[in-house]
């Protein structure tokens, strides 16, 4: 084992002097991590490589044969795929910023220790995170029916004159999905921001206040600036989550992806290609690699953007 030689320097880098690992400790180290690594190898690394291989295969059901770039050419000519991709990116581009800004605003309001009813507000806004995606999706579908409670409330408040065909109209169906996901995840992100805000030294705010820095500037130049790593983290996990959106578009519209594929996402399309009708696993794998590439690319972009701003 060559690896043992360097443990002292690694220990020192982490600020904790450690005796170098002996042979038996090296063995113990691997024994402790081995069950997890074996399982990850079988259920993650092997499938992700297999799916890469499969994305070059064509055929129906289990009869697959090598097809070269056939699937990639099919992608560019498949209107359903293009629609699923556009929908997914639309959800991403609108929902993630709206949700994160809301979460930041709520967290900032709740970070005030003199705020009355703080714990109640915090618990209430966090509450949606407790529901299962399936349960809240079906509840939302019932709320957004043609004569449903949402239309009635909006009409009672004179915000709309006639009922909105929420789940029957391609535009409004997308809006419902965005509202639903925002409802479910805003509190989740807010908790991350609140925890990070509580670590900011109060004296920085005091000093800024004494220097006459207005509230909005304190929010922008202190809070947001100090929260940058957390904001980056939440942006990345929300992006990954939204790119994989499945439960909501599968359950909120009366038919998955309805009306006329307006809420069809990449994950729903992959599911349909694989498990509805005659499966085409190869092409489904190709579509799934579009998500892999998007996730990788967007995470990288977000990290680069964050690094640039810091420099």
């Amino acid at each position: 084992m060559v690896a043992g030689a360097d443990t002292t320097s690694i220990g020192a880098r982490h600020g904790r002097a450690r005796p170098r690992l002996g042979r038996s400790e090296q063995v113990s180290g691997w024994l402790f991590v081995m069950p997890a690594l074996v399982l990850l190898g079988i259920f993650m690394i092997y499938p992700i490589l297999w799916s890469l291989w499969m994305s070059f295969q064509v055929g129906r059901g289990m009869n697959l044969s090598f097809g070269g770039l056939t699937n990639i050419i099919r992608l560019t000519q498949d209107p359903v795929f293009i629609r699923a991709l556009t929908n997914t990116l639309t959800f991403l581009a609108i929902q993630v910023p709206v949700m994160l800004v809301l979460a930041l605003l709520f967290a900032n309001a709740l970070n005030n220790s003199r705020l009355w009813g703080r714990a109640v507000f915090r618990t209430a806004i966090f509450l949606p995170c407790v529901t299962s995606l399936v349960a809240y999706s079906v509840v939302f579908r019932s709320m957004f029916s043609q004569d449903g409670i949402i239309n009635q409330m909006l009409m009672a408040l004179n915000i709309i004159g006639s009922p909105i065909p929420w789940l029957a109209d391609p535009f409004w169906a997308k809006v419902v999905i965005i509202i639903a996901i925002t409802w479910r995840w805003t509190g989740y992100n807010m908790i991350f921001y609140l925890a990070a805000m509580q670590n900011i030294d109060r004296s920085i705010y005091e000093a800024a206040r004494i220097d006459g820095v207005p509230a909005w500037a304190r929010f922008w130049y202190i809070t947001v600036a100090m929260l940058k790593p957390v904001i980056l983290f939440t942006t990345v996990i929300s992006t990954i989550g939204t790119l994989q959106l499945f439960d909501e578009p599968n359950l909120i519209p009366p038919i998955p992806g309805a009306p006329s594929d307006a809420t069809l996402t990449l994950s729903v399309y992959i599911y349909n290609l694989s498990f509805k009708f005659m499966p085409s696993f190869g092409y489904a794998a190709t579509v799934s690699y579009v998500i892999v590439i998007l996730v990788g690319l967007l995470s990288l972009l977000q990290f680069l953007a964050a690094r640039d701003r810091r420099a």
Binding site: A3, D6, T7, I10, W30, L31, F32, V33, P35, A36, L39, L40, F43, M44, Y46, P47, I48, S51, M54, L102, F106, L110, F121, A124, I125, F126, L127, P128, V130, T131, S132, V134, A135, V138, V139, M143, S145, D147, Q152, W183, T186, F192, A195, V230, F233, V236, I240, L243, Q244, L251, L266, S267, Y271, S274, F275, F281, A285, S288, Y289, V295
Partner: protein, 272 residues
């Protein structure tokens, strides 16, 4: 600072928070009211309690083999959680306590794998389970979830707070590495385990896509799948759906109110 302006600002804050609270809580209220109403009343947006609760409950419990469904859900979530905690905490402990250059590299690799989307795994996983003749079994649901990178990371972070002296003392007492883990580490870290239990249990309990693919007969379905399938009828009985949604939400809701602090800790988990 001008007082009226500050007052206005505070008023706007409260208004915003009250609105957010209403929006956040309303669907829960709606779900509870819905369980007491008939299907047509729910679709018409009736917000007052009705008299159909009993009928809805009876219809829900007779539409499926409820004891069996609940057993499936609790069994999968229970066994899945126990195995996930064991395997992932072993790994988190191993990565933190026995640091070596190679294992640090492996760990960095795990973090990269955190962004592998499940959509890219489900087709090969399904074929793998079919080849292993494990379709429609508990194993098929549980096995792929046991090694959770997120939980490994969570335990590694938490292990940084595990007192070094305890481990040294245990070694002087002649305990073996695995004994230190089970007899010293696990009891000392019980609050970490509690927070992780909540988060893992909830994730498995709420899982929809993978069970939807793998569990195919009615006697194997989980509560989540049953609730979802209730809405796929041409005209779903919404009263029954609401009863189902309540049952699907109840366990996590109860855990949340009993262990609120741990719950939030678990959510924040690895980021601290």
């Amino acid at each position: 600072m001008s007082n009226p302006l500050a007052l206005l600002g505070r008023g706007a804050t409260y208004l915003l928070l009250c609105l957010a609270t209403f929006v956040s809580v309303f669907p829960f209220f709606w779900m509870a009211i819905g369980a007491t109403n008939t299907s047509p009343d729910i679709l018409k947006g009736k917000v007052t309690p009705g008299g159909a609760l009993w009928t809805n409950m009876v219809n829900f419990f007779t539409s499926v083999d409820m004891p069996r469904i609940l057993f499936n859900s609790f069994f999968i979530a229970g066994v899945g959680t126990a195995l996930t905690l064991l395997v992932s905490s072993l790994a988190g402990y191993g990565f933190e306590i026995f640091r070596s250059r190679l294992r640090e590299r492996v760990f960095a690799g795990l973090l990269l794998m955190l962004s592998i989307p499940f959509a890219a795994l489900m087709v090969p996983l399904f074929i793998m389970m079919a080849n292993l003749k494990m379709i429609n079994t508990y194993q098929a649901i549980i096995l792929p979830t046991i090694a959770s990178i997120f939980i490994i990371f969570y335990f590694r972070q938490a292990t940084k707070a595990f007192p070094h002296e305890l481990r040294d003392a245990a070694r002087i007492d002649g305990l073996k590495e695995w004994q230190i883990f089970f007899n010293v580490y696990m009891p000392v870290m019980r609050s970490t385990y509690a927070a992780a239990t909540i988060i893992v249990f909830m994730t498995i309990w709420n899982n929809y896509l993978w069970p939807l693919i793998v569990l195919q007969t009615n006697d194997m379905k989980t509560l989540t799948l049953v609730v979802a399938s209730l809405t796929s009828a041409y005209t779903p009985d919404w009263g029954v759906v609401m009863v189902g949604a309540i049952f699907a939400t109840l366990p996590t809701l109860v855990i949340f109110f009993l262990l609120q602090r741990r719950f939030v800790e678990g959510m924040l988990g690895a980021v601290k």
